[in-house]
């Protein structure tokens, strides 16, 4: 191997070979788990939000409304797949799939366990242990934005176009801060590979401590990235009809909603991985099968915080959103990265 200035850890070969069929099964399981999480996240969101507003939330379908996501799915599947006459056919159809695909693909690099050896077969802790995992997440996320923009544009509706423009402007602005907020972690862990970043946090020095500023910036920018309240301007129901997916109905609308929620789940998962110690327990890891459970617990807490935030904070005005992004978040994130770099080099 040619010696370069890069940290070699990023290019080290995999410790153990992974059989291809293990990856396929794992991918299948992870995708379905994410989909189930998405389904019940929608229910949890409606329930938690309802309780915070002194309502019950959905409680008709099944006990405690537990079958509500399935009822919603069936309803969406039964609906007519309506299409505006002036819509650009293939883009209009393609956009939701792009959005959903990219949302699901991101989850493949997130480690949710230490890796296991079952009956002589090595099962890694993530579907793909990519050495540039973090960059891949941001890259796929950026492709996902195309789904939203193209969908809004191809619908040939002014509201959809306005929504798509807002989505575009907001996501581009906040992606800068999001990427910069992560730099501190990358500098400290000296790797872009997510499993390395998790390993660097194994002794309960989660990066939420030393990288607290980065964590806060990541959460805020991430809220804006996933278009959640109080940064949900792309689909501000009260001003735009529904944002970029105004002209979508049925399961295509469902795919857009799904990709939004899965983006939120992925973002929370990335946050857990980068700042909250990934699958490590708080000070005590326990047996290795506890890893995914620790991961899920942290994920649930983070998702709860996002729901909580949605109930509490009113939406920002558009100029406030832009000012906050460029004048506060971006300088803070930059400063955080620079200070971290200086400290890591100096110490």
């Amino acid at each position: 191997m040619v010696a370069t200035g890069f940290p070699l850890a990023a290019f080290a070969p995999l410790a153990l070979e992974v059989a291809w069929w293990v990856s396929v099964i794992q991918a299948f399981l992870v995708i379905n788990l994410v989909l189930v999480t998405f389904a019940y996240l929608t229910l949890a969101e409606r329930k938690v939000m309802a309780r915070m507003q002194l309502r019950y939330g959905p409680n008709r379908a099944g006990p405690y409304g537990l079958l509500q996501p399935i009822a919603d799915l069936l309803k969406l599947l039964h609906k007519e797949s309506f299409q505006p006459a002036a819509a650009v056919d293939w883009l209009y159809v393609l956009a939701p799939f792009v959005a959903a695909f990219t949302a699901l693909a991101t989850f493949s690099v997130i480690p949710f366990g230490p890796g296991w050896e079952v009956a002589g077969v090595y099962i890694p802790g993530q579907v793909a242990d990519v050495s540039i995992g973090l960059i891949l997440i941001f890259a796929i996320g950026s492709v996902g934005i195309y789904g939203f923009i193209v969908g809004g544009w191809a619908s040939d509706s002014k509201y959809a176009l306005l929504g798509a423009m807002r989505t575009c402007a907001q996501l581009v602005s906040y992606e800068v801060s999001l990427a910069l907020s992560v730099l501190g972690v990358v500098i400290m862990a000296e790797s872009l590979r997510l499993s390395d970043i998790v390993a660097a946090q194994s002794d309960f020095v989660w990066y939420v401590g030393p990288q607290f500023v980065g964590f806060v910036v990541f959460l805020l920018a991430g809220t804006a990235e996933t278009a959640r309240a109080p940064f949900d301007l792309p689909e501000a129901e009260q001003e735009l009809v529904a944002g970029y997916h105004t002209e979508y109905g049925g399961m295509r609308f469902g795919l857009f909603t799904m990709s939004e929620y899965i983006n939120l789940i992925t973002l929370s998962a990335v946050c857990v991985t980068l700042f909250l110690g990934g699958w490590h327990g708080p000070g005590w890891d326990g047996p290795s099968w506890l890893g995914p459970l620790w991961f899920l617990a942290k994920l649930a807490i983070l998702l709860y915080v996002f729901i909580w935030m949605r109930t509490t904070l009113p939406r920002l005005r558009y100029d406030q959103l832009m000012r906050f992004g460029w004048k506060i978040l971006l300088p803070v994130a930059t400063l955080n990265a620079v200070v971290t770099a200086v400290l890591v080099v100096a110490l």
Binding site: V48, A50, R51, M52, Q53, L54, R55, Y56, W308, M309, T311, T312, L313
Partner: protein, 164 residues
């Protein structure tokens, strides 16, 4: 500088609500008692001797702002006496899909023959079913609605003074 702090106070407020009981009334399971003077489905009344109070004067139809009452009167005869007056309502129909439940018919009626009851669950699958005939209005309503204790809630009926 108070604003960031207030934001966190907001989080505390929303979090506290989780532990409170929701104020939602689960309507089909739990039917809230209506107030005694709630204006619901109409009723036509009869005298104790079985004669109808309505004399077919059509004042209710005249008072109705939604024009949903149709009255066709006929003469009482010796062998067909329906009401104590000269005439009775041969046809008395209320179109519930037009009615706005203002209660003017009740006020206009000189014999208290029509009053507004407490029933509000009068939805139907067909518009035709919403036209209530005299038989339906005379009959006791099928669905009963719980009513609040009048002693606690009823306010005295307004007295309309003669204009001098």
């Amino acid at each position: 500088m108070a604003q960031p702090l207030d934001t966190f106070k907001g989080f505390a407020v929303t979090f506290r609500q989780i532990f409170r009981k929701p104020i939602t009334q689960q309507y089909p399971d739990f039917k809230r008692a209506v107030y005694p003077r709630f204006r619901g489905r109409h009723r036509l009344h009869t005298h104790e001797n079985g004669l109808e109070k309505c004399v077919g004067c059509s004042l209710c139809a005249a008072a109705c702002p939604a024009d949903c009452i149709r009255v066709v009167a006929a003469e009482n005869t010796a062998d067909n006496r329906v009401s104590p007056g000269e005439r009775y309502a041969r046809i008395y129909e209320i179109n519930m899909s037009r009615c706005i439940f203002c209660g003017y018919c009740e006020l206009a009626c000189p014999f208290d023959a029509i009053t507004l009851g407490n029933e509000f669950e009068i939805a139907e699958y067909s518009r035709d079913d919403l036209i209530y005939t005299k038989d339906m209005l005379l009959a006791e309503p099928i669905k009963r609605v719980p009513v609040q204790d009048p002693a606690r809630y009823d306010t005295p009926a307004p007295v309309y003074k003669e204009r001098s």
